[in-house]
Amino acid sequence: MGGVLEIRDLHKSFDSHHVIQGFSMDVVEQTLSCLIGPNGAGKTTLMDLISGRLKPSSGSVRFRGDELSGLSESDIARRGVGRKFQVPAVFKELTVRENLEIAFSREVNPFRNMLKFRDKAMLAKLEEVSVLVNLENRLSIVAGLLSHGETQWLEIGMTLMQEPQLLLLDEPIAGMTEAEVDQTAKLLREVRQHSTLIVVEHDMGFVRRVADMVTVMHMGTHFAEGKIDEIEANQNVREIYLGTEEDAA
């Protein structure tokens, strides 16, 4: 069991604003790492850097030994990195079924896709994923009509349809009901059996239930890392969270 993802000395600045400052991290195969940190810590920016939405100012992101920074979003996705966005990004005008079908991207060649009408492998995957994310009865609904929680599930389902080796989930349970959170926790544990996940989440109760490893980010740096108990006992971590709460108050 080696490292799937190696992030080394990553920097990103917008103009003079240094958002990621020398961040390094290793992610081990078939684990679920939770990434926590106060608002504005740079969690989403880090995901943008891994998935190619942003280019790092310096530093490296290696996925199974290959350098990712510099590749296009679609190339990175092709290599097996799936992404769920903080603000759910589904195709609202299309049906749930179509959303999932499109996400099945084993074939990306446009000419071959012009001749593709029925795809058995895709249908099998669709059946499996739609049950996993609890949408098997909602397939013919337009995605724009789904509830908040269902939309989150749909997007998780889309990333699963991609058959990724590494999943980046940015705040997957935002807006979910208790029951939905329970199911999502179960779902993520199940997905972990076959792939590696990095989950950004604020809800510590949820983190406790799903995380193998917790990484704390603060002002763009790797602030702390460990098992959930260690992190919760860590005085410095408490301080940065309290700090932001005092700021907010």
Partner: protein, 375 residues
């Protein structure tokens, strides 16, 4: 599942068959050659509207410069037909060229001695041009109104170029080949049922192919990138490539329409590159419904049909009326007449579902209403 019949694929194909069979029967019942020729021109408008529906409806790429491909196709065919009436030995030069002081046939006219070569170029040049222009734009992630403006600017550039290159294009006078197109010894009379069937045969087969394209995985991906290209990128697809291809396929159809135009009219001028004409194509698609290929075709028929009958009475105010109509449609029927039909049929299927008791995790009526199966 009791969905809207509008989205029933089988019902859609039935509509297509009925529509095209009745169009194909017209020459059997109507023998007036002038009317037939006029109706065949409508087939060309249908092709153009359908090409816009593919690019703008499916792909969300608002193209105000479809006249580029149309004009190139029309000029290519005019050059082919012009060279058919030239003689390599006695009169190798079209008369307008000698009037404009040319002594030799320009190199890019040479391939048009061959009918097959000429028609090939008439279709290939605009398609390849669109592949290059599209690749440059979409790779740089130019989209939406910015792309529309770029396409419009490019069209204006072509208009001026064709107008200015008088010795090569005969400028504003245009090219008017003396004889109808001759293919394999057969002269295609533009007023004959054969010409009509050629146009509608092309309209039929290209529309069916476009519909199949829409129903394929390719079409699905293009519809998705219309809504959110960024998301499609993160699924692993090369968005620029898909956009370039749908744009070039649409341009190819417009080039076919351009070729047909010259066959029917036996005349081509910079007017084919006119900005107003290209915008009119977009209006056809908008009124008929840009998301529906057949809707766009019917939009073209309706607008051009009313123009031929009402345009004479209203003369200059016709464009004003058209513009007013366009604004109304865009404001109240964003998916055009096809969208209206979809809504009406949804209402019908809703009232029939309300009677049957819901089972399981049934859809709400509103959900059933908005249910969409795509094209």
């Amino acid at each position: 599942m009791n969905g809207n019949i509008y989205h029933d694929k089988r019902a859609q194909w039935v509509v297509y068959i009925v529509f095209f069979v009745s169009l194909g029967l017209i020459p059997v019942m109507q023998a007036d050659p002038f009317l037939l020729n006029q109706l065949a021109v409508f087939g060309i408008y249908g092709l153009l509207a359908m090409s816009i529906s593919l690019c703008w409806g499916t792909g969300g790429i608002l193209n105000l410069g479809q006249g580029i491909a149309f004009g190139m196709g029309a000029y290519g065919m005019a050059m082919t037909m012009q060279m058919q009436s030239q003689d390599p030995e006695f009169s190798p030069l079209p008369s307008f060229m000698s009037t404009n002081g040319l002594e030799q046939l320009p190199w890019f006219w040479e391939p048009f001695w061959s009918t097959g070569g000429g028609i090939f170029l008439a279709l290939a040049v605009p398609t390849i041009f669109s592949l290059i222009f599209g690749a440059l734009m979409f790779q740089a992630r130019v989209s939406g109104p910015f792309f529309a403006i770029m396409s419009l600017a490019m069209l204006s550039a072509f208009y001026i170029l064709v107008l200015d290159m008088q010795p090569y294009t005969n400028g504003a006078n245009g090219i008017s080949p003396r004889m109808p197109l001759e293919v394999a010894g057969y002269s295609l009379d533009p007023y004959s049922p054969a010409a009509y069937w050629l146009i509608f045969g092309l309209l039929f087969s290209l529309t069916v192919l476009a519909k199949l394209l829409n129903q394929s995985k390719f079409g699905q991906i293009v519809r998705a990138l219309r809504e959110d290209p960024e998301r499609v990128r993160f699924l692993g697809y090369n968005v620029a490539l898909y956009e370039t291809l749908i744009y070039a396929i649409s341009a190819f159809i417009a080039a076919v329409a351009g070729c047909c135009f010259t066959i029917l009219i036996q005349y081509v001028s910079p007017d084919q590159f006119d900005v107003v004409f290209s915008i009119t194509m977009v209006i056809w698609a908008a009124v008929g419904g840009r998301l529906s290929l057949i809707g766009a075709i019917i939009g073209a028929f309706l607008i051009q049909g009313s123009e031929s009958y009402l345009g004479d009475q209203f003369l200059n105010s016709w464009h004003l009326i058209l513009g007013f109509f366009f604004v109304i449609i865009v404001r109240f029927l964003p998916n055009g007449l096809a969208g209206l039909l979809e809504m009406l049929l949804a209402k019908r299927s809703r009232s029939s579902t309300e009677e049957s008791p819901p089972h399981g995790r049934a859809k709400s009526p509103a959900a059933a209403n908005a249910e969409k199966a795509g094209v």
